[in-house]
């Protein structure tokens, strides 16, 4: 259970570090946008967005300390999302070629 897992001795410091990292990543997103790289820029921005989301989930939402059943619920959400994205993309990206 999550209660029995070792908690960080300085949770406040971890949160501050992650918050600072998120702000740096936001700055990076803005920089990529200002550089106007076109499609590669959009892909980089989305990748940075996904990185920020993983940091929030792992540290702020405590997935790193979550028991197996909760990790399974998290993965189930992303599994259904992946099915939705793959199913939709496989249709549209092949039909209009």
């Amino acid at each position: 259970m999550s209660d029995t897992r070792t908690r960080s001795h300085h949770p406040g410091r971890t949160i501050a570090i992650i918050a600072a990292m998120l702000m740096v990543l936001l700055g990076l997103t803005v920089l990529v946008w200002r550089l106007n790289l076109g499609l590669p820029g959009e892909i980089i921005s989305l990748t940075i967005g996904a990185t920020k989301a993983i940091l929030v989930a792992w540290y702020f939402m405590n997935v790193r300390r979550a028991p197996a059943t909760i990790r399974l619920a998290v993965l189930a959400g992303y599994f259904w999302l992946a099915l939705l994205l793959l199913g939709t993309a496989s249709d549209y990206l092949t039909r209009y070629r």
């Binding site: 936001l26 909760i70 619920a73």
Partner: protein, 219 residues
């Protein structure tokens, strides 16, 4: 039913649970299951948007340049900061009600700040004529019908997100008030942790809306 001896004094364990650890697990699993359904709700919208973005690249890019990207970027910083505050509130020792209440209040205030900025942005959007059907000026777009589709996505996704933020502010606000009244002093604070998960999720959705809607066009 007899309770397990390790239950801390005063912890409110509902009769269907063996102990507070089991209760906490059930609360968090329930919230994560709810969030999984939310992932699919926003995921469906985002998938539809991405398909249209790929198919109507130029029209969507041109339409996106009419949005106020700096408001979107500022709002991202606001939400990320609020997420850090709610994470700190969850980590606060159960006995430190004043500190937790302040952190939750700061989170709710930042949420209000987000909505305020969004409201200002919506006002500017209406003024600029990019609200389909109601305040719509098609002459400013090269491909007005596809630009209208982009704007429908923009209003629907940001509007649905703003509704989620509003619900989050209400929940976090109530928890801040209850913390101040020391209602969590002797109990577990599963409710705060579950509300925190919801707030972080709302933040994560915005992390994807920013590059998709606002940053898909040249500055």
């Amino acid at each position: 039913m007899t309770r397990a001896p390790e239950i801390p004094a005063g912890a409110r364990v509902a009769h269907q649970f063996n102990d507070s650890a089991q209760q906490k697990h059930a609360v968090l699993l329930g919230m994560w299951t709810f969030l999984a359904t939310e992932v699919v709700l926003f995921g469906g919208l985002i998938a539809s948007f991405v398909i249209c973005r790929v198919m109507y690249g130029r029209a969507f890019s041109q339409a996106g340049s009419h949005l106020y990207a700096w408001i979107g970027i500022t709002n991202t910083a606001v939400l990320l900061t609020s997420s850090a505050f709610v994470a700190l509130a969850v980590e606060t020792d159960p006995g430190r009600n004043r500190r937790r209440s302040l952190l939750l209040s700061a989170t709710a205030l930042l949420g209000l700040c987000f909505l305020g900025l969004k409201g200002v942005e919506y006002g500017l959007d209406v003024h600029e004529g990019i609200l389909p059907r109601i305040a719509w000026r098609p002459e400013q777009f090269a491909d007005a019908s596809r630009a209208e589709l982009f704007m429908l996505f923009y209003w629907l996704m940001t509007g649905l997100h703003a509704l989620h933020v509003s619900a989050g502010i209400a929940v976090i606000g109530v928890l801040a008030w209850r913390s101040r009244r020391a209602e969590y002093a002797h109990g577990h604070h599963n409710t705060i942790e579950a509300a925190g998960l919801y707030w972080h999720f709302v933040d994560i959705v915005w992390l994807f809306l920013l590059p998709l809607l606002y940053l898909g066009s040249p500055p």
